[in-house]
Structures are given as C-alpha cells and as structure tokens.
C-alpha cells in the first residue's frame, strides 16, 4: 500500500518537475510547479509529517505557487510563447546534472534502512514544544528574517513618484 502511494507520488513529482523546467509557456510551468509542490506535500504525509503536510499545502501551494503565478502573468507577453526558453548551454547543464546525479546515486545506495515499525505519531505538539524550547533562538531569528523580507519586498516594489 505504502509502496503504491510512494511510486505514484514519485512519478507525479518527477513528471511535473520535468515539465516545470522544460515547458515553453511559463504559465504552464507555474501551474506544474503547484502540482509538484502538492506531490511533495503528499510525500510528507506518507512520511508521517502531518503538520508539514498542512504547512506545505498552505505556504507552498497556496502562497508561493500563486505568487509566482501572479508575477508570471504581470510580466508575461504573448510574444514570449514563440521564443525558446532554454539558453544555449543546455548540453553543459546536462553534463553537470548527470555528474551530480552519479555522485548522489553512489551515496544513496548506502541507505537501505527499512521503515520503523511504530506508526507515526501526531507531530504538531512536539513541533510546538521544540520551537519554544531548543529552537527558540532560530525561531525568533526567522521571525526577524520574515519582517526583513516584508520590508524588503515593499521597498523594492515601491514605485518612485516622478518629480
């Protein structure tokens, strides 16, 4: 059962990721990105991370993918559909990617641990406790980073008035 779920989610994630990087129309790319991120959320659920599954759907699918969609539509032009979207260095990029994949594959083959027998527990409570305990300082720093990102986004997208 878990095997079926894993392989269907893996197929979804990899197919949509390939479409994200190869689709000519950037709007299609952004839509497939949303589907790919939802598939990753399904993998989180399969791994027993229920809070992360909800966070993935809310932040990535509902936030980041929609935001990217907005910007794609703001900046898009009809003439973009007739231009090639891949630059001239794709052969070098394929080389870099295959070397990286071979290296990663050699590492992957060492990990064969099976699934632990205990069923996964709800993680929301433990996550809250660890955020307020061991990870309190990073938690506060992240809220600072978010405030900085908010101010930065307002600053950069602010249109200066013509004098």
């Amino acid at each position: 059962m878990e095997l079926i779920a894993f392989y269907s989610l893996a197929a979804l994630v990899i197919m949509t990721a390939l479409l994200v990087v190869t689709a000519r129309n950037t709007v299609h790319s952004a839509l497939f990105l949303g589907l790919c991120l939802a598939g990753v959320g399904g993998l989180f659920a399969l791994l027993g991370a229920d809070f992360l599954f909800a966070g993935q759907i809310m932040v990535y699918v509902g936030g980041i993918a929609v935001l990217i969609m907005f910007v794609v539509m703001l900046l898009g032009r009809a003439s973009d559909l007739h231009l090639r979207q891949i630059n001239g260095h794709w052969a070098a990029a394929v080389l870099v990617c295959s070397i990286t994949l071979v290296g990663l594959w050699r590492v992957v083959s060492h990990f064969t641990q099976g699934m632990p027998s205990a069923a996964p527990l709800p993680t929301t409570g433990p996550l809250g406790l660890i955020m307020m305990g061991d990870y309190a300082v990073p938690f506060e720093l992240v809220s600072l980073v978010l405030t900085g990102a908010l101010l930065g986004a307002i600053f950069f997208s602010h249109r200066e008035k013509a004098k």
Binding site: A93, C97, L101, W105, Q113, A149
Partner: protein
C-alpha cells in the same frame, strides 16, 4: 524491492534536486530560475523529513529544520519576485542574458 526503505526517498530527492539544478542553469526566464530554486528547496525538505522518519522516529528535529526551510523559502521568493518586478520596470525584459547593466 518489497518494502519502502530510506534509499527510495533519498533517490527521489536526488532526482528532484538535479531537475531543479537543470532548471536554474538552463532557463532564460528569471522566474523559471526561481522555480528551479524552489524545486531544490523541496528536494532538501524531502531529505530532512525522510531522515527524521527513518533514523530518528521518536524526535521531530528534521521536521523542525524543514519548517525553517519552508519559512526561509517563502521569504526568499517574496524578495526575489519584488526584485524581479523592480528589474523588469527598469529593463523591460525578463530574460537574464539582457541583464548586463554592470558589464564593463
């Protein structure tokens, strides 16, 4: 291969990461590059959660780190897209080979 093991998840995340690298290296559109970077973030998150589940099932440290990565990715994409909008307003293009303002 009868049961699911840790290698399955790491292999999937390696493939997803490499696809993201390929997108970031080859897209001409700057938003496409940002999408490739998002794919790489997600590959790292799958890795963290899988290691958490298989090697340390009693704790949630890996999931905490994945949560921090999701937050940082949201901040990154917000600032990145604001910068893209500002650059587009000045240069009127989204293709990165035309961004040569600093070229001597």
């Amino acid at each position: 291969m009868t049961t699911l093991n840790l290698g399955n998840f790491i292999a999937l995340s390696a493939v997803l990461f490499v696809i993201g690298v390929f997108g970031a290296l080859t897209r001409r559109n700057i938003i496409g590059i940002l999408m490739g970077i998002e794919l790489m973030f997600n590959a790292a998150n799958i890795n963290l959660v899988a290691f958490n589940r298989y090697l340390h099932p009693a704790g949630v440290t890996g999931q905490t780190l994945a949560l921090f990565i999701i937050t940082i990715a949201a901040a990154e994409v917000v600032v990145g897209l604001a910068l893209v909008l500002a650059i587009y307003r000045n240069t009127d293009t989204v293709y990165v080979e035309d961004y040569n303002l600093l070229k001597g």
